[in-house]
């Protein structure tokens, strides 16, 4: 096991270590820059550097820290063509991993971006190689967001046409906008954790060494040891210049300082065909032995309303019991019952801290359910002690997910209205982590012994008979498995690219034009 070593959190961009949504920033705006003149673009970056939010801990009532939580956050990342436009030395450029050099469009065969997801149908902003940088603002409210956007826009206008905002994001009424807004979905006036299909999302992000997280968040988020405990994942799975799970430094460009404390980020605008999804579920639920909610939970691996995992409540009856317990404990805890509060906390811990050890057949959580595909936990060790640790096959495939839902402001959301998820994920290797999961676990099922089946939500289905998913039944129960056939495409890619998120040190070097690989 690797050992904890403190990270230089002041040098690491904040979005790597913090999911801002969890810290009270439900609003976000993403916009994309094009560089027209390297020197002027560098000058612009110099002005931007002081605005960049780092990963330093923020003061909290339970742990004092020198940094107060800001009202807004700012982060930046670059595409390969962006780094070329900034005239990084050729030797440094050639040191970047091939998939990053190629960019997301060119990887469409691996990612399954075909048919309606083909890059030719993406939002205009993604046509051509003009997207050079991604800038994100996360804010506690709309007003702060708008103010900060104007501030950065001002810096851009002062760049003497060295930098421009690349327009062309399809907006709610089909109009083209210069930015992509994203927001938590509000319920009763409060930002919630739901996405537009109605599922509670963003629950199980990974926990890695030195990330500054609260240790109580470790169980279920780190990696599984042979004895069933959870320890943090190696830093190098998520941040360059640090040792990864293979005890190696992840491939990175030279000089070392360019890569150290930086990482890669995948940005994908994923449109959700809400009407198609609702119709499909309504129709299929008629034949399903259980509620519509259970059917939806079987697709996801979690109950839509509160995110409880199926392994904890595998059917309608146990879910009703769980909800009752949850409601009772919440009431008691709200009335000041410390014991109930403790029990509630322990119960909620089970939302994350679980394995599929008691559900090898998938009778509780289907083997092909979304959360079981994308984070297999220890379930791929099908033969006892086949690997060094139970999670050996997943520890190098973890995705640090960022991002928020977008659109869906209309009363009537259907396939044509604009809504979905701005999916962002962070990792030291886009190829090994995101692309592998997308290709092998989302769009293929050999590892799960499910043939060609795909993820119900994300799979590039086409509504054919064999576009199917299986809901397993308990062996020996006499019940038949349930086959969901003719799966249509619920999610379509509408654009995206791969970004390098440099450290503050590297960003300053890029801004000064002094990156020197020699």
């Amino acid at each position: 096991m690797t050992t904890n070593r403190p990270l230089d959190l002041y040098d690491i961009q904040g979005n790597i270590c913090k999911g801002y949504g969890r810290f009270g920033f439900p609003k976000a705006r993403y916009f994309f820059l094009e560089f027209h003149h390297p020197k002027r673009a560098q000058h612009f970056l110099k002005q931007l550097v002081p605005l960049i939010t780092t990963a330093e801990r923020w003061a909290h009532k339970d742990h004092p820290a020198p940094e107060e939580k800001p009202t807004i956050t700012t982060n930046i990342g670059f595409t390969f063509s962006g780094l070329q436009a900034l005239e990084l030395p050729e030797l440094s450029l050639r040191g970047f991993p091939v998939e990053f050099q190629m960019g997301m469009r060119e990887r469409k065969a691996i990612l399954g971006d075909d048919g309606p997801s083909d890059p030719q149908h993406w939002d205009p902003v993604w046509q051509g190689e003009h997207v050079h940088a991604w800038v994100s603002i996360n804010a506690q409210n709309e007003e702060a967001l708008q103010q900060h956007y104007l501030k950065i826009e001002q810096l851009i206008s002062e760049s003497q046409s060295g930098v421009s905002i690349r327009p062309g994001h399809k907006g709610p009424n089909g109009e083209l906008l210069p930015y992509q807004d994203a927001s938590a979905v509000y319920e009763n006036g409060k930002p919630g954790p739901k996405e537009h299909f109605g599922f509670t999302d963003g629950i199980g992000n990974p926990y890695f060494e030195g990330c500054g997280n609260d240790l109580s968040r470790l169980p279920g988020r780190g990696k599984l040891t042979r004895d069933g405990n959870w320890v943090p994942l190696a830093t190098g799975e998520f941040i360059l210049g640090h040792v990864d799970e293979a005890q190696e430094y992840p491939p990175a460009p030279t000089p070392k300082l360019l890569a150290l404390n930086g990482t890669f980020m995948v940005y994908r605008k994923l449109h959700e065909n809400v009407k198609t999804f609702q119709d499909y579920v309504d129709n299929l639920a008629k034949d399903f032995d259980g509620s519509k909610e259970l059917l939806m939970a079987k697709f996801a691996g979690r109950w839509a309303d509160n995110g409880a995992p199926l392994v904890l409540a595998p059917d309608d009856r146990s879910k009703a019991e769980l909800d009752k317990t949850l409601a009772e404990l919440t009431t008691q805890a709200n009335n000041g019952d410390q014991c109930a509060a403790g029990q509630l906390k322990a119960l909620k811990q089970k939302w994350i801290d679980f394995t599929y050890d008691d559900d090898k057949s998938g009778a509780k959580c289907p083997v092909g359910a979304h959360i079981r595909r994308t984070n297999t936990r220890g379930s791929l060790e099908t033969e006892k002690e086949a690997f060094n640790s139970k999670g050996a096959l997943v520890d190098r495939r973890r995705l640090m997910r960022r991002g928020l839902p977008y659109g869906g402001h209309d009363e009537l959301t259907d396939d044509n209205s604009e809504q979905g998820i701005i999916f962002m994920c962070i990792g030291a290797s886009i190829e090994r982590q995101f692309e592998f999961v997308q290709q092998q676990w989302v769009n293929y099922s050999n590892d799960f012994k499910l043939g060609n089946d795909k993820d119900v939500f994300l799979g590039n289905h086409n509504g054919q008979l064999t576009d199917k998913a299986i809901i397993q039944a308990e062996p020996g129960s006499g019940k038949a498995p349930f086959f969901c056939t003719h799966l249509p495409r619920f999610v379509e890619t509408r654009g995206g690219d791969y970004f390098f998120i440099p450290s503050i040190t590297a960003l300053e070097m890029i801004a000064q034009g002094i990156v020197d690989p020699a």
Partner: protein, 227 residues
């Protein structure tokens, strides 16, 4: 011994290619090209999957043709290195059954392709029938060591039929989910009639087929009970 694994055979042969060159008029380009280059071009333009010549040759599980340019040693600087005196056409095939039967079937089903591929192999000019082809291949054969058979021992027809039945059965399951026992029984009877379990020729997957290309099974519009 090592050439076989159950009823499967692992054939590896290295056929030296003549040194020299001639006018390559294969593709209407009359440039001078060495014999190995002409041979490589022919290999690279062979049709694949169902159109592959190997799809016509009975019982081929898996076959491969390539040109071996030379051998490489990754050792220190002061080691004596061997080099090949010519380039080799390498032919490997995993198939069901006996070697001679297989090669005979190969000659009878793909003679023109064989003549085209091996045209510039040393000594191939003396091959003019199945018997001389068998002799030729045997002379070029290497003993297969560490033969891993990625297929089972069944004949190709049996394997293709199994793949067909597997696909058709999963479609049967998907199409008949939730039906009552009587209907299901009738449908299954119709299914068995349609797939003809004991007829290895048809319906079945085609030799060379590598993926699901079409629905294998459909519910008859009227089941026998209803008609």
């Amino acid at each position: 011994m090592a050439n076989t694994f159950g009823d499967s055979y692992g054939l590896t042969c290295l056929c030296p290619i003549q040194n020299g060159q001639c006018e390559a008029n294969d593709d209407n380009s009359f440039d001078l090209a060495s014999y190995d280059k002409i041979t490589r071009r022919r290999l690279q333009t062979l049709p694949q999957n169902e159109q592959s010549p190997f799809a016509k040759i009975p019982n081929t599980y898996f076959a491969r043709l390539f040109i071996l340019n030379d051998v490489f040693f990754e050792q220190g600087n002061d080691v004596k290195r061997d080099h090949l005196k010519s380039k080799y056409l390498v032919f490997t095939s995993n198939f069901h059954g006996e070697l001679e039967t297989y090669l005979e079937g190969m000659w009878h089903n793909a003679e023109s392709e064989i003549r085209n591929i091996w045209q510039y192999a040393v000594g191939f000019e003396r091959v003019n029938n199945a018997a001389s082809f068998i002799d030729y291949i045997k002379k070029c054969q290497l003993k297969t060591t560490l033969f891993f058979n990625g297929s089972n021992d069944k004949s190709l027809k049996q394997q293709l039929k199994s793949l067909y039945v597997k696909q058709a059965f999963s479609e049967f399951v998907l199409l008949n989910q939730g039906k009552n026992a009587a209907t299901l029984k009738a449908e299954f009877k119709a299914f068995l009639e349609q797939i003809q379990l004991n007829n290895l020729d048809s319906p079945s997957w085609r030799p060379g087929q590598t993926r699901l290309t079409e629905a294998s099974y459909s519910i008859p519009t009227t089941t026998p009970e209803n008609s």
